[in-house]
């Protein structure tokens, strides 16, 4: 008897320990709470944040004007990146995470490596003072516990939802942010905003894990046009019931429903609204009874599962990290190819697995400047043969803009690309290249392509940003440009050597040739100097390895054999003496 009670005690203690060990986990998962707002937080905010977000948190700091996306206005309690459900405030941890990780693709940097954890929490506390709704808020977290693992099957399902739920309206058919609604979007402050290019996961503001994508889909991105999709599925209905409802609705729009059908429809609707009621209660802050809670959880389960499929699909679209720029071992190498070079849609281009990536940034050197470029990179592949070289360039642009007058300036804007080479390739580190924006007294050679004439590349020369002139003596250049699903592709072919050696760059194998780009997005108001540019990169016509490698190495090996034997005999000789 005594022993038994001892055992019971042991078990209960163990159970208690186990409980204690398990219990704190959900609490911790909620994240830490910010401390009370303090003077330190205010000082820190004014030193580090106020120049963008404004002293009063209204997103109107001195730097705000030239930023897109604009710095957040904290006074309305609208936070884009949350782990909480639709129309809810963020948790303290959410705000902390944004401060700590920054918002990729925007001008918000990651402060995690700069400020201490304590300082960041003080900032959270101070930021919360700008909106008084935080006081009694207890936001509900999005449940991410039942994650559906990534699989091909899940991606296929997700793709179907992507197409059917209206994602394509903004994000485009393949997800490059080129949907039909994309050109007109504004946020709640009336500022221009673009749907995310889902292929560029490194630019996802709130991170690119599947969980992050899932949270954005369920919770929406507050203040932006991105809604919550929690209501996209018929809550509480089985797939069969949902399909039936669909059928009835189609019929309703057509020949009309019979009385029985109408009754059936009303029943389904009632069921749907019964669950939606519970959900709305939650949103309105009404305490749920345990039964209601269970009902809701059960009803949400299949919806969440579908949302995970969608998140998996989005995740499958692109690489997580920005591709490495075309330097070092990623440098653009034009591949040697015997015979004719591949044309625009030739399969041969797929032989080059990885296109070289040239990052573009805003041209902010010369007025008028572009502080918020919409084209962030150009990708390139290239082949050459004994007489010609062909390039395939690609760059993402959410809109195809044929020549048209800009709303604000009235200037004629259009999409365009210029590829820049120096006329004379510098001969060493001390021989300077031309200035990276259209040269200086050292001229550059340009291929100018404009969307209105997609099959023409014009040869130009420039000796300074405003001095580009069309060459009077155009070398024959073949070109073809197409726009599809938010991406331009431009194919260009020229002979390696031209007659106009004074004004044209001459391509030769083995020489590292500087290359740079300028890109104009008409819909972004780009015209003349207002554009996206790259600095100089280099590319090379990859030489076919020379036959020297079959001559010298054996020779070197022979010499080393000789040396070794020489050493041996000299050591022997010394030993003898």
């Amino acid at each position: 008897m005594k022993k038994q009670s001892y055992n019971t005690m042991l078990i209960s203690v163990a159970g208690l320990i186990l409980l204690l060990a398990v219990f704190p986990i959900p609490v911790l998962a909620q994240g830490k709470q910010a401390p009370a707002a303090s003077e330190e937080g205010k000082v820190l905010y004014e030193d580090k944040c106020a120049h963008c977000h404004g002293v009063d948190g209204a997103g109107d700091g001195s730097a705000a004007e030239n930023l897109l996306p604009r710095p957040r206005d904290f006074t309305r309690g609208l936070y884009k990146i949350r782990s909480t459900e639709s129309a809810q405030l963020p948790t303290d941890q959410d705000i902390f995470d944004i401060i700590s990780n920054g918002m990729p693709g925007s001008s918000m940097p990651a402060w995690g490596e700069i400020l201490t954890e304590n300082e960041q929490w003080q900032l959270v506390a101070h930021i919360k003072t700008f909106y008084d709704g935080f006081e009694d808020a207890s936001p509900r977290l999005i449940d991410v516990s039942d994650k559906v693992p990534y699989s091909e099957e899940s991606v296929t399902k997700g793709k179907e939802f992507y197409t059917n739920l209206g994602c394509v309206d903004c994000h485009g058919v393949v997800g490059r942010g080129d949907g039909t609604s994309a050109p007109d979007l504004t946020d709640e402050w009336g500022f221009r905003t673009w749907p995310a290019n889902l292929w560029e996961q490194w630019n996802y503001r709130g991170g690119s894990t599947t969980e992050d994508i899932f949270k954005r889909f369920i919770g929406g991105i507050a203040g932006s046009p991105m809604p919550s999709f929690i209501s996209s599925f018929r809550l509480g209905l089985t797939d069969e019931e949902s399909a039936r409802m669909n059928e009835l609705e189609l019929k309703m729009d057509g020949e009309g429903l019979s009385e029985a059908e109408e009754e059936e429809y009303a029943g389904l609707e009632e069921k749907l609204f019964m669950f939606e009621d519970i959900m709305l209660n939650v949103e309105e802050g009404v305490e749920l009874t345990p039964e209601e809670q269970t009902k809701l959880d059960t009803a949400l389960k299949p919806i969440f599962e579908k949302s995970w499929h969608l998140a998996n699909y989005v995740k499958s679209l692109g690489p997580e990290e920005r591709p490495q720029a075309a330097v070092g071992d990623k440098v653009l190498r034009s591949q040697y190819r015997e015979g004719t070079l591949p044309g625009m849609n030739d399969e041969a281009w797929n032989e080059i697995k990885e296109a070289s990536y040239f990052p573009l940034v805003g041209q902010i050197v010369i007025d008028p400047r572009q502080f918020n470029p919409s084209i962030d990179s150009v990708m390139a592949k290239s082949f050459y043969n004994d007489s010609e070289i062909a390039f395939l360039f690609a760059w993402d642009d959410r809109t195809k803009t044929l020549p048209q007058a800009d709303d604000e300036t009235g200037e004629t804007v259009e999409d365009a690309l210029a590829i820049q080479f120096p006329v004379k390739i510098s001969e060493g580190p001390t021989d300077p290249k031309p200035y990276f924006i259209y040269g200086d007294r050292r001229p550059v050679y340009l291929w100018s392509w404009k969307v209105a004439e997609p099959s023409t590349v014009t040869e130009m020369n420039a000796k300074g940003i405003n001095t580009a002139t069309v060459q009077s003596d155009q070398s024959p250049i073949q070109a073809e440009g197409v726009y599809k699903d938010g991406q331009y592709q431009l194919w260009v072919k020229r002979s390696l050597i031209t007659e106009d050696k004074r004004n044209d760059v001459q391509f030769a194998p083995g020489v590292f040739i500087p290359i740079a780009f300028s890109a104009w997005d008409g819909a972004n108001g780009d015209v003349n100097t207002k554009r996206a540019i790259s600095t100089w990169y280099t590319f090379v016509l990859d030489p076919v390895p020379s036959n020297k490698r079959f001559v010298y190495p054996p020779l070197i090996a022979l010499i080393s054999v000789g040396l070794l034997f020489g050493l041996k005999s000299s050591v022997r000789r010394r030993q003898d003496t």
């Binding site: 639709s86 129309a87 709704g133 039909t180 709640e188 046009p225």
Partner: protein, 259 residues
């Protein structure tokens, strides 16, 4: 004659400016309604009526036709116009909110009322929706295409939910604070725009297509009466004083001009 032309031109330009500015989004400062500090609902038996007509002053500006840029097969069936100024008979101005600013007790909202906005053909109907605080709004989407309901409120929690074609009816949660009018937009169809006023008491009316309004069952007393109109603004700074007698009817007309 010449001055008239100039006036019309000026008005036209102003109108275009206002409408385009309004269409540009929420960056336009919307003047809000005036709500009483507190309101107590009770039964009113001897209430009077305030009614009247809101007229537009001047020549009716031509309604700007909106460009339907997508889902034309559904949205382009009917022409869409900018609805900031809609005139009826005798220049009656539709979609003007007329309301009592200072009433502190009176009737409750009718319990059986339904609050809906229809999005048929990618167009919000009604253009101005009064929605009592604490009541849910039903969004109707018979289009079988995707809309999203984006309510630009700032005092109440943000709201932006997708309503795909498979959600014929979707309820929007109730809010706690009187606010408004706030814009409602569908980001998928940029031209779609309407207004919601979250109201704390029932003495609000929206003028009908002929500019007529009626406030019924008003407890006897003297009140301040104000209007709000999207393009013409509000007189909340200088509201009109009306005295309602038990069972009586007061007529109060307004004549509005563009801001």
């Amino acid at each position: 004659m010449k001055t008239k032309v100039v006036t019309i031109l000026t008005l036209l330009i102003a109108c275009v400016y206002v409408t385009t500015a309004a269409a540009a989004g929420g960056n336009e400062e919307v003047e809000s309604l005036v709500f009483p500090a507190s309101y107590k609902a009770m039964s009113v038996s001897n209430g009077g009526t305030i009614s009247g007509m809101v007229k537009f002053d001047g020549t009716a500006p031509e309604m700007k036709k909106l460009e339907i840029t997508k889902d034309v097969q559904v949205c382009g069936k009917t022409d869409k116009f900018d609805e900031s100024i809609v005139l009826g008979e005798g220049n009656g101005l539709k979609n003007t909110i007329v309301y009592l600013t200072d009433i502190s007790s009176g009737a409750d909202f009718p319990s059986d009322a339904k609050y809906e906005i229809d999005q048929k053909g990618c167009h919000f109907n009604p253009h101005v929706r009064l929605l009592p605080v604490g009541k849910r709004l039903t969004m109707i989407n018979p289009d079988r295409i995707n809309h999203n309901v984006h309510i630009f409120s700032s005092m109440n929690p943000a709201f932006n939910k997708s309503q795909p074609g498979t959600r014929r009816k979707m309820n929007v949660k109730a809010v706690k604070k009187a606010e408004g009018p706030v814009a409602v937009k569908c980001d998928v169809h940029g031209w779609m725009k309407a207004w919601i006023a979250y109201i704390p008491h029932p003495y609000f009316a929206v003028t009908d297509e002929n500019g007529k309004y009626t406030l019924e069952n008003v407890p006897p007393g003297t009140y301040k009466l104000a209007y709000w109109q999207e393009a013409c603004g509000t007189n909340k700074a200088e509201p009109v004083s009306v005295t309602v007698e038990a069972g009586g009817t007061v007529t109060q007309d307004f004549t509005l001009a563009l801001k």
